[in-house]
């Protein structure tokens, strides 16, 4: 057999193997720095408090709230249905199944958005899908959902609709000063009954923030 025939045989066998095996995707970091930067710049990981409130009230089974603060803070206050994965345990093997899965929408939250965003960044770089961040964290949540401020009388319709939704959400989620904010003249006209969630209004408002 001539050398060329040996070469033909060896190269063809190797090329056939490489053509038939699936591509190896077991890289430690699935996204390059450039890809990650592009995602950060678009900010697609953020979910607005209104959207989250709506899902909580509807008891949407597809979301999983993940509190990345420390256990002490988690015990003091947490969102309904949230589980606690402190940021330092985010890479722990016990949490792998929760963070890297294809069915639920994980929403990280912390007091501000920084820690939650850090958690998202770490998991995203590992290539995990379906992880999101509560926009503005719990502080913004308090401000917008639990104590919404009433828009002025000349506010746009969708702003008023959003306010109505937030007021209702606040009641459903145990917020504070709602009844005090609502003026007597407004009662009956726009105040939704607790537990009746104006889902359609929410849909219109979702673009607002």
């Amino acid at each position: 057999m001539k050398p060329l025939h040996y070469l033909t045989l060896v190269l063809l066998i190797l090329a056939l193997i490489i053509a038939l095996v699936p591509e190896n995707t077991t890289r430690p970091y699935k996204l390059t720095a450039d890809q990650l930067l592009a995602e950060i710049r678009t900010g697609t990981q953020f979910v607005s408090p209104d959207e989250v409130a709506d899902k909580i009230i509807q008891k949407d089974p597809s979301i999983q709230l993940i509190d990345v603060r420390n256990p002490r803070e988690f015990d003091m206050y947490s969102l309904p249905g949230a589980i606690n994965i402190p940021l330092q345990d985010i890479l722990s093997e016990n949490n792998y199944d929760v963070l890297n899965q294809g069915t639920k929408m994980n929403i990280f939250y912390s007091n501000g958005a920084t820690e939650a965003n850090e958690a998202w960044l770490l998991t995203r770089q590992l290539g995990y899908q379906n992880n999101y961040v509560l926009q503005g964290g719990l502080n913004y949540w308090m401000e917008t959902i639990l104590n919404p401020s009433q828009p002025g009388s000349i506010a746009a319709n969708d702003e008023i609709a959003r306010y109505d939704f937030r007021k209702a959400a606040s009641m459903a989620l145990g917020g504070g000063a709602v009844s005090a904010i609502v003026p007597a003249s407004d009662q009956g006209a726009s105040k939704p009954k607790p537990g009746v969630v104006p889902v359609k209004k929410k849909k219109k408002a979702s673009g607002g923030c």
């Binding site: 060329l4 070469l7 033909t8 190269l11 063809l12 190797l14 090329a15 056939l16 490489i18 053509a19 038939l20 095996v21 591509e23 190896n24 077991t26 890289r27 430690p28 390059t32």
Partner: protein, 196 residues
């Protein structure tokens, strides 16, 4: 996991040292293949000696399969391997210029240094010409700039353009390379030359 330098497994100094060792190996292999003879290289164009084509295609195919297998075993991350950006128009024109120089001079840049290293005069003259070309381009850069940057397609792979998997494209390229090997055997028989 590779690439070693990108992942900081080796320092950039070690990287340069490895490049130095590999460069010496490359030059040695070129010399041993007879590439330091301009007649051998010119033979590619006249059909009496196709060894240049065979060596470079074997090298390319070997490196391609090697990288794909390394990636398969998790030894190298292909996403981090530098892919030269494609400038289509300038690549075509530059290829023609280089090809013309290749036929006239009988060397490519690598083999000319190889020839000069073993004391070939024509190779040394070729290097002088090479430097004249480099200076001509560098000082005339404002004239060539538009052409130099035209047809920018980014860091593309042919497999991406055709939407094929890397493995499938590798198989196709190997088949094409082997086909060319057999064709060049036939060409060598058809245009034989006794002494060169």
């Amino acid at each position: 996991m590779g690439p070693l330098a990108v992942n900081d497994i080796i320092s950039s100094n070690t990287n340069f040292f490895l490049a130095f060792v590999i460069g010496i190996g490359f030059g040695f292999v070129l010399e041993q293949c007879g590439f330091s003879s301009s007649r051998k290289l010119a033979g590619l164009f006249y059909g009496y000696d196709m060894v240049v084509l065979k060596v470079f295609f074997t090298g390319g195919v070997t490196a391609m399969l090697g990288l794909l297998f390394f990636s398969l075993f998790g030894w190298v991350d292909l996403n981090l391997v530098y892919v030269n950006p494609t400038f289509l128009a300038s690549a075509i024109i530059g290829g023609l210029v280089m090809g013309a120089g290749f036929i006239m001079g009988g060397f490519c840049p690598g083999t000319s240094f190889c020839g000069a290293a073993i004391g070939k005069l024509d190779a040394m003259i070729f290097i002088v010409g090479l430097f004249i070309g480099v200076y001509f381009f560098a000082f005339g850069y404002p004239i060539f700039e538009t052409l130099y940057k035209s047809g920018d397609m980014g860091s593309l792979k042919i497999s991406t353009i055709f939407g094929l998997g890397d493995g499938i494209f590798a198989l196709i390229l190997v088949v094409v390379a082997l086909g060319m090997f057999y064709v060049s055997e036939w060409v060598e028989k058809k245009f034989p030359r006794e002494e060169y």
